[in-house]
């Protein structure tokens, strides 16, 4: 079941806002609604589904309604219309007591300006949500300590927030949001107030935490790079409406309209695309073949080297044409002439992290998945093509930059 399912979720600001719902459904524009009905659109009929364990990023410029939308999810702002299901229950219909329980147990929140309580110590901040639930002091301390350890702030529990740096304060905010082990964590521009370097550290840490905890995270940001870095799914907002929902790749490669296109045109693709996007099929030979066969393969495929793999595609090394012919002359086996010191990388490595590796080596970079299984190869030409917005190399042999010419660089 989806964790969160919103249908036509709407917020209108103004007197007696409900009267605006039928007008919106008739397709009144923002301008018309403001001029003729004196209503301001906060969020306009948002439809989306958030699956369990996803990082769902809501992105938009200031005033696009993203902060309003995230507050509709825990009803810090009352929705004007539409439905919002949390694991099948309608959040919009919860009684005040039910809503409090929902906020206490199911949904945590991290704020842009941290919103730590200045009169409470770090640990008292972290345990706030547990305290209002009425959990006994000893137990909630333990839970809060665990949460604090998770964000790497053990030893700071008795400090006050104003004694901490911005990055540390937001870790406290994160620990507070996670303390009651909620199903969903809302993060409202959680890293926007931090310095760029610290921000990147926090993003990395969030991703690492996420790989352990598998929370459902709703992350608000105005920063496209941040959205692309951490989002599994991105919803792009403009004027209160969701313009496009998709994976980071969808948004970049198939912008739904001119607005999204303009939004993403300045993106540094090398920070978004990974080795797997620029990867070509690797030319391989298995170890049980002799050097003569290898030479024949090279001739047939028009390449000057081959990756040597075992039967399960585990990478063993690289053999060049010269080495292969030396092996033929000296009657050696392929494994005897193997070059094992070859550049390799993981499929999820960002292209901009590959530049240095590629600059330092004449050889192409082998892409290796888990268990050292050879997935493909990245060559310089394919990287440039990917950055230019071309298709990735997955379509194999038909691709012009693939094959012979490529491997010829080795």
């Amino acid at each position: 079941m989806a964790m969160i399912e919103a249908k036509g979720l709407t917020k209108l600001f103004g007197q007696d806002a409900k009267r605006g719902m039928p007008l919106l459904k008739q397709g009144w524009t923002k301008e018309k609604l403001l001029a003729e009905a004196k209503l301001t659109i906060g969020v306009n009929q948002a439809d989306f589904t958030i699956e369990e364990g996803q990082i769902f990023v809501i992105m938009g410029l200031s005033g696009s309604g993203k902060s309003t939308l995230v507050r509709l999810l825990n009803r810090l702002i009352e929705p004007t219309g539409g439905t919002l299901l949390f694991q099948g229950q309608d959040v919009t219909k919860m009684s005040p007591e039910k809503l409090r329980q929902f906020r206490r147990k199911n949904i945590g929140m991290v704020f842009q300006k941290f919103a730590l309580f200045p009169h409470r110590t770090v640990i008292q901040n972290v345990e706030y949500g547990l305290e209002v639930q009425g959990i006994a002091k000893k137990e909630r301390r333990e839970m809060a300590m665990r949460s604090l350890e998770l964000v790497g702030l053990k030893g700071w529990e008795n400090s006050y927030p104003d004694q901490l740096s911005g990055g540390m304060q937001q870790r406290v905010g994160l620990a507070r949001g996670l303390a009651s082990d909620p199903d969903i964590l809302l993060m409202d521009e959680a890293f926007s107030a931090l310095d760029p370097l610290i921000r990147k550290d926090m993003q990395d840490e969030l991703l690492e935490l996420q790989s352990k905890m598998k929370k459902t995270i709703v992350f608000i940001t105005h920063d496209l790079d941040e959205a692309l870095r951490i989002g599994d799914v991105i919803a792009l907002m403009k004027d209160g409406s969701i313009v496009q929902i998709g994976t980071p790749e969808d948004i970049l490669m198939q912008p739904a309209n001119r607005y999204v296109e303009r939004f993403v045109e300045d993106v540094d693709l090398s920070k978004v695309l990974t080795a797997s996007h620029a990867m070509d099929k690797a030319e391989t030979v298995t170890t049980d073949r002799g050097p003569r066969v290898a030479l024949q393969f090279m001739r047939d495929r028009g390449v000057s080297s081959l990756y040597v793999v075992d039967k399960s595609m585990h990478l063993l090394g690289l053999v060049s044409a010269e080495d292969a012919s030396r092996a033929v002359k000296e009657n050696l086996k392929l494994v005897d002439v193997l070059q094992t010191d070859i550049p390799t990388t993981h499929p999820d490595t960002l292209l901009n992290e590959l530049f240095e590796l590629m600059g330092n080596s004449r050889l192409p970079v082998a892409v290796i998945g888990d268990n050292r299984r050879l997935k493909g190869v990245v060559i310089k030409g394919a990287v440039l093509a990917a950055l230019a917005g071309g298709s990735n190399g997955d379509n194999g042999d038909n691709s012009p930059q693939n094959g012979g010419a490529a491997h010829g660089t080795a």
Partner: protein, 279 residues
């Protein structure tokens, strides 16, 4: 302008008579409670030998403030005793503390309610303006009618004059709690009561204490006026000295009030300072 004069004075007198006739059980109850508190406090302060009270106050001042505060307290109170104004000063202290205590007891909850309801704030604000600007002598008269001569109408008029800062600053302090903190408290599922006790009151405490400080100072400033309706104390000494044109006696009694004011002011200031730093 051919309009006849509004019979406002008649209306007010009618209202006063009506209240006197119909609300006297309430007034005598209030009179009983306030009179009891003042008398109890006064008896306790006078029953103890002056030196014990002086040591007690000096210890409190030293503990809350710094050593200088302690020195000022001991010297000041010894001077009052030396001038022979001890009993009167303790009577005044009992009156002021009672007025301040009741003001806080009523003012803080009322301030909290005002902070929660914009409507109530709109009603209360002009009433507070009225209470602070209407000359005290004007409401002294009905106070005598309802509560007879003595210390009770003095306390009542002190409360009327001194309660507004506590209400205003409690309201302000709570409204000034940053919205994002209130939002955070809401987001973690606080009940309104939890939000008040765990967040709003602690954050607003320095502001509320500033209001309490003002309330104490204002009720001290009422002691001479209160003495006109029969409240005993150092205020009465001042009043007598003025009517008999005894400048020296008046000055001595005035000094006693000033010393009392400085001690009470510095003590509450220290509490504000402490509440501003953590916890």
């Amino acid at each position: 302008m051919g309009l006849p004069k509004l019979p406002l004075a008649d209306w007010v007198e009618w209202l006063q008579d009506w209240m006197g006739d119909n609300l006297w059980p309430l007034f005598s109850f209030i009179s009983f409670v306030i009179g009891g508190i003042v008398k109890g406090l006064n008896n306790a302060l006078i029953w103890l030998p002056p030196i014990a009270v002086i040591i007690l106050f000096t210890a409190i001042a030293w503990y809350i403030g710094k050593w200088r505060m302690g020195v000022f307290t001991i010297v000041g109170l010894l001077l009052i005793d030396n001038l022979g104004l001890w009993n009167q000063t303790m009577q005044t202290l009992a009156l002021v503390l009672t007025a301040a205590f009741i003001s806080i007891l009523i003012g803080i909850p009322l301030g909290i309610l005002c902070a929660r309801s914009g409507k109530l704030q709109k009603i209360v604000t002009p009433v507070l303006d009225f209470m602070q600007t209407m000359p005290a002598f004007v409401y002294l008269l009905p106070a005598i009618t309802f509560f007879n001569l003595g210390v009770v109408p003095g306390v009542i008029s002190s409360i009327i004059f001194a309660i507004p800062p506590t209400i205003r600053l409690t309201n302000l302090g709570i409204r000034q709690v940053p919205a994002e903190l209130v939002e955070a408290a809401d987001a973690f599922g606080s009940t309104p009561g939890q939000k008040l006790v765990k967040l709003q009151l602690p954050i607003a405490l320095p502001t509320i204490m500033a209001g309490v400080n003002q309330t104490i100072m204002l009720s001290l400033s009422m002691v001479v006026i209160a003495s006109m309706v029969g409240a005993q104390g150092v205020g009465a000494t001042v009043y007598r000295a003025v009517t008999q044109v005894k400048t020296g006696v008046g000055f001595e009694a005035g000094i006693a009030i000033v010393i009392l004011a400085i001690i009470l002011d510095r003590l509450t200031q220290q509490v504000i300072k402490k509440s501003k730093s953590h916890g």
